[in-house]
């Protein structure tokens, strides 16, 4: 049960219950839809960039507690940050989720609570969906990001 408590930490349950920045954005400059065909999780990430600054970031969609909390924490973390910080953070989170969950966890700050996911390989894609979608939105290439 210890693993389960690592997965569903209070912070994650809180973000799931009251997700931050959970809304559509009419005046976004970047937007992408993300989709996990395995479980049907779906997320849209909106970003308003000005001169390399993330002025606003939000998301909408449906998914499990892990995917929702991850998206919520992502938006909370990146609002007001530089676009370059988003790319850096994406790399760090991605490395943590697909790696051993120990490397670089400290440098992730609040996002370190996501490290509990690593013991549940089936759930890694839930946690990474919003991040892939943000990446797609900022790159502006793909309209639909996928965890597959």
């Amino acid at each position: 049960m210890a693993d389960l408590e690592d997965l569903y930490q209070e912070v994650i349950l809180d973000h799931n219950k009251s997700p931050r920045n959970f809304r559509a954005m009419g005046n976004s400059s970047h937007k992408a839809e993300g989709y996990n065909p395995l479980c049907g999780d779906q997320v849209t990430v909106y970003v308003r960039l000005r001169d390399g600054l993330i002025e606003d970031i939000s998301f909408q969609g449906s998914g499990c507690a892990i995917s929702k909390a991850s998206a919520s924490m992502m938006t909370a973390e990146l609002k007001g940050k530089q676009e370059s910080a988003a790319a850096e953070l994406f790399d760090k989170v991605h490395r943590m989720l697909t790696g051993d969950c120990v490397d670089g966890v400290q440098s992730l700050g609040k996002l370190a609570v996501l490290s509990g996911v690593c013991k549940f390989p089936a759930r890694v894609k839930c946690a990474s969906l919003a991040w892939h979608t943000l990446n797609a939105a900022l790159k502006g290439g793909a309209d639909v990001a996928s965890t597959e």
């Binding site: 569903y8 049907g40 507690a65």
Partner: protein
């Protein structure tokens, strides 16, 4: 067959299915997961295999392996005979009129694709219509959409009501002179609904329209008699009926199969090849290009033997009791809503909570050793119909017990505690 042994329920005098004996036939059921006894309730995805099937596969590779229909040597003849014997077993199992009506395929998905690409592509014209239902698995939707692109035919969808039952009046209204094929599921994988397929077939046949049935979820639970059902095509997968993965069956009425062009070309499906012209082989080989899944076919034959060795009335009564018990037990859980409440159901309970996602429920159940499926069950239109992103599905097989339902229920309560 150990499971055949009859025991008498105290007081009732009725012979009951000996589920304890049946469980001993399936070695995997005695393992643990995360330190807890495995409670396997994901039978709709794939069933576990009895020792006789495992032994058959292992013996085939250890002692009998050879290619079929081509060797002059002893082992090839042996393997050919075993493979063709399996075909006969399957013929008897579903009561097909002729052995050559049993086509070995990879699974239900390939069977539907075969009918779409062979029967459909050769006979459909722009404006023709194919009727499916709103509770189909993607494998009974997408092949028809592909055919629609190729032929210009239309896809019509029989609606379902809030209990997850087909609206038969609407179905009858959909049938018209342009309808060229009806393809519906026998038992819904996402909802558990048993579809009144005889009525489906007779309404279509009144207009001379052939009917295909997706029996993937039906064969492990119901006694299927294709002649009594009167259907023109019937498809099922080996791995959901205690057989190996990678092998399944398309039953087709001989008159239809004979008119249909081959689905794939290659070895075994020909009788003579020159660069000018190729003569196709007779049924069923016309539809079995290339070296088939020989071990799988023989293994499926062993699964059929296993099933035919059971007392089906007892199995049916046991499964009915399980479903009733599970429905009662789960309905009593606060906030749990069952999706799919048809009067006639088999083997499946899909459920949701308003504020807990199916995926989270699935993970917490897994920690308790309970294997279920969480997601859209390859039936996304069903999820859309009920306005849910996903459901948690417990799907039963003959080896499940009331005690396992109790474990399921208490594991669900644990999930509620995590998300309180």
């Amino acid at each position: 067959m150990k499971a055949m042994k009859e025991t008498t329920a105290a007081g009732s005098g009725r012979a009951r299915f000996d589920v304890v004996a049946a469980r001993r036939d399936f070695p995997i059921l005695s393992r643990t997961v995360h330190g807890k006894p495995l409670v396997y309730l994901d039978n709709g995805a794939t069933s576990q295999k009895p020792q006789v099937v495992i032994d058959t596969l292992s013996r085939y590779y250890r002692e009998e392996n050879a290619n079929i229909h081509r060797g002059v040597h002893y082992l090839s003849e042996w393997a050919t005979a075993a493979y063709e014997e399996a075909r006969q077993k399957i013929q008897a199992f579903i009561n097909a009129g002729h052995k050559e009506e049993i086509i070995f395929v990879r699974g239900t998905t390939e069977a539907v694709n075969l009918v779409a690409q062979s029967y459909g592509r050769s006979s459909l014209k722009p404006g023709d219509e194919i009727v499916v239902s709103a509770m189909e698995h993607h494998s009974n939707i997408v092949p028809w959409q592909m055919l629609r692109e190729q032929s210009g035919a239309r896809l019509r969808v029989i609606p379902i009501n809030h209990d997850g039952e087909l609206v038969l009046d609407e179905y009858r209204r959909l049938l018209n002179d342009k309808t060229k094929l009806v393809s519906v599921t026998h038992v819904s994988n996402a909802l558990g609904t048993v579809v009144p397929v005889r009525e489906i077939v007779s309404a279509a046949h009144e207009r001379g329209i052939p009917v295909m049935l997706d029996g993937a979820q039906a064969v492990p639970h119901l006694k299927v008699d294709v002649q009594a059902l009167g259907c023109d095509f019937y498809a099922f997968s080996g791995h959901k009926m205690f057989g190996p993965t990678g092998v399944g069956v398309l039953y087709g009425r001989r008159e239809l199969l004979e008119q249909m062009p081959p689905y794939q070309g290659g070895g075994d499906m020909i009788s003579l090849v020159t660069f000018e012209k190729t003569h196709y082989n007779v049924l069923p080989y016309k539809f079995e290009a290339g070296t088939p899944n020989i071990a799988g076919g023989i293994g499926l034959g062993a699964a059929v033997d296993y099933l035919r060795g059971l007392e089906w009335d007892q199995v049916a009564a046991h499964e009915e009791e399980l479903l009733t018990y599970a429905t009662e037990k789960l309905t009593a859980i606060d906030g749990l809503r069952i999706i799919g409440t048809a009067k006639h159901k088999a083997g499946v309970i899909s459920f949701v909570f308003d504020d807990i996602h199916a995926h989270d429920v699935g993970t917490i159940l897994d920690e308790e050793g309970v294997a279920v499926r969480a997601g859209h069950h390859c039936a996304m239109p069903v999820m859309q119909r009920f306005g849910v992103p996903a459901t948690t599905r417990a799907s039963f097989a003959l080896y499940n017990t009331r005690e396992e339902i109790d474990v399921l229920a208490s594991a669900i309560l644990k999930a509620l505690k995590v998300f309180k």
